[in-house]
């Protein structure tokens, strides 16, 4: 099969286009230099490192978002708010209320509790979608609206600060390793999901349910459970991002943390060529899509587009993507391609 027909073609082409653009405008975009961070450890810096760092957050969320999209034919718009909740839970467990910033519990315990809480909220969304058959965007609108308030409420609206240095590793660098930790976390998540897809039937079941739930049921599957499960898995991804986000600041800003990240995650799924109406999916394409989006964001920042104007530029990209992948346009393009080929043969 030709590369052109493969799903990964769209994100790859977009990546190439962005890379070429940067190469033409300013090759220094690709410069990576070794320096020292504030703690005196050697770290790699440069635009590409920024992409690797922040793109990993979106990549982790894109894993869960791909599964939700495939199984339910809709998207979860509450992940940003859920990240705030997960982050808040981590801080609450780590330093408690009115603490002096020293660790009250091991980080792993805080993270595991955050995982449980995030999965519970995912399960809540999953129940609304899978059992009550509410359109996913509408169902998750509830948590989207309430999530940040819940996050603030968990810490009594205080802003706990973690002073312990090890906590900064997850969103920054582990001493001696010059590559940002979020990238490794993303790698771990990707490896885990790929293992799950290889050694279980998660992929087959999710796709079957997303394509034809009625037929799946008659083949012994439980579409309700599969849909619900996808939301729980997304909850797990949310907890990991919650850890990264709070680690970056050692504290939390309830209204800003992970703001609009759900849009990037959904965009990553779309950019990966996955049908937003569900069905077949390709996790790796989504993950590549996530880094492409960060590539775009970073490029825009480099050209001094203000963060307020950023969404407008992204919107242009979304419009182009959606139009290109619309069946009507695809058919037209294919028809033109055929015509062109014929003409060439005749000529």
């Amino acid at each position: 099969m030709k590369v052109k027909n493969k799903q990964i073609f769209i994100p790859l082409a977009a990546l190439l286009l962005l890379a070429l653009f940067n190469l033409a405008m300013d090759p220094s975009f690709f410069k990576i230099s070794l320096g020292n961070n504030s703690a005196g450890d050697p770290v790699l810096t440069g635009y590409l490192m920024t992409i690797l760092d922040y793109g990993s957050e979106v990549a982790i969320l894109a894993i869960g978002m791909t599964l939700v999209t495939a199984a339910c034919g809709g998207q979860d718009i509450s992940v940003g708010a859920a990240v705030a909740i997960a982050g808040s839970v981590i801080l609450r467990v780590l330093v408690g209320q009115g603490g002096d910033g020293t660790l009250q519990a091991p980080i792993i315990v805080a993270f595991l509790i955050a995982c449980v809480v995030a999965m519970l909220f995912g399960a809540f969304n999953g129940v609304l979608v899978a059992i009550f058959n509410i359109q996913p965007m509408v169902a998750t609108l509830i948590l989207y609206t309430a999530g940040r308030s819940i996050a603030a409420w968990i810490n009594n609206n205080e802003l706990p600060i973690v002073t312990d240095q090890t906590f900064t590793y997850f969103g920054g660098f582990i001493p001696g390793i010059p590559v940002p930790t979020p990238f490794f976390l993303a790698v771990v998540c990707v490896v885990l999901i790929l293992l799950a897809l290889k050694f279980t039937n998660l992929g087959l079941y999710t796709q079957a349910v997303g394509i034809n739930a009625s037929s799946s049921r008659l083949n012994g599957l439980n579409p309700t459970f599969i849909k619900w499960l996808s939301f729980v898995i997304l909850g797990l991804c949310v907890a990991v991002v919650g850890l990264i986000k709070t680690s970056r600041l050692s504290t939390i800003n309830y209204s800003v943390i992970a703001k609009d990240i759900e849009m990037d995650a959904i965009l990553a799924v779309a950019l990966g060529g996955n049908a937003l109406s569900g069905g077949k999916f390709n996790i790796m394409a989504s993950i590549l899509g996530a880094y492409v989006i960060q590539f775009l964001t970073t490029t825009l920042y480099k050209f001094n587009v203000s963060s307020d104007a950023l969404p407008a530029y992204k919107a242009v990209v979304v419009i182009i993507l959606v139009v290109i992948s619309a069946p009507a346009v695809k058919d037209k393009l294919a028809a033109y391609g055929k015509k062109w080929k014929k003409q060439k043969e005749v000529g």
Partner: protein, 505 residues
Amino acid sequence: MPVKENAVLEMKNIHKSFPGVRALDGVDFSLCEGEIHALMGENGAGKSTLIKVLTGVYEKDEGDIFLKGHDKAVAIRSPQDAQNLGISTVYQEITLCPNLTVAENMYIGRGKSKLTKWRKMNADADRILENLGIPAKANQQLSDCSIAVQQMVAIARAVDMDCKVLILDEPTSSLDESEVEKLFGLMKDLRARGVGIIFVTHFLDQVYEVCDKITVLRDGRLVGEYVIEDLPRVKLVAKMLGKELDDMEEIKDENQMYKGPDERVIEVEGLQSDAGIKPFDFYIKKGEVNGFTGLLGSGRSECVRAIFAADKVVAGTVKKNGKAVKITKPLDAMKNGIAYLPEDRKRDGIVGDLSVRDNIILAAQVLRGFFRPFSKAEANKFADEYIKLLEIKTASADTPIKSLSGGNQQKVILARWLLTHPEYLILDEPTRGIDIGTKIEIQKLVLKLASEGMSVTFISSETDEMLRTCSRLVVMRDRKVVGELSKDELTQSKVMETIAGGGME
């Protein structure tokens, strides 16, 4: 102007083709004033196409439509045209707005002057409802009315729009008996007022209860128009199925039957699902091929769906090899060695975007378990094996199933269930919409599987196909098991007689 006296509608020599199908081939139809006229035919006979031509949903390729009061043939290019000409349709699904009031539903889309003067509108509506004896109030919200009343409101709307021709397309499917009675009362009332009513239904009893005339279509052609007294049920069924009574070919193949112990593999008692069938008993023996027969909508699919727990089972017991088993969901049935090839291939069978390979292994994979996926090699082996065995025509095992032809899709679904090595295989309309060659292949396969000891239930709309394959037939009518035929009773005439049930009760 229609030629016939009293006729309000005449359709002459109507042709309509779709790509690859001739849906209507020179059909004539006429409707008189003050008559209830049943339009009968099995699936694909052309009933709905004819109605859609009449109501402007489809444009006819050829032919003329004459209406009373119009000198020349009328042109009906849209449902709006049809409505303006006094042709109204009431469908099985309510096409009104549930969140508006009864009166608003009656007057919407007919100029806004009425809708804004709501006091007058309500008074008018109430008068019409009372006049027709419809138990609804004008200012009631439509969704508060029962389905039957909603349908009557739709009829009232049609009547008030001065309709001459009223089409009722399967109006009774979702009604209970007392509601049907009320609807019939209204229909008779309208007949007395001179409205011509076209009644489409699958319920034979209802035809004989209210109709004056019957027009039968088959395979897009007109079979004939009959006065109800001249066409007893048995004859009607024969006309619909296209078999004359004396056309009793015996096509039975006894030499390769399964010869083994005579044990009942599956036995059900008082089984009932939420799909609206009456409780039924049923059993199947090892190596036996049996069938459920009956007209469309008689409940034959619902029976097998209940056995497979595809619909929610509400009562009854299931025994497998004499032992009681609990089957509450399809997976339970699959674990008990039951396989079910559903009637609606597109909706319930194929998983369109998945490859032929994934479609073949799906059921076996689900049975094997979430944590034990087949390896690529195993999946390929199974797929190749069955593609070869059933001669599935596909570019490769990777091809999405939706790009295969109907017959080949059906073979893939068949392969899917054979791969689970079932003891009891249920095939619901496995041969519908597929070419004749594949049909025979499937019939042969069924007999071969049975000779090897598999129990098979084979359902088909084509009686001769069932006679050819089945050694026992369960006959259904109006969602009830009404008889069982075996051995010498397995003849066209006997089957038709039992389906029609002419005066048996």
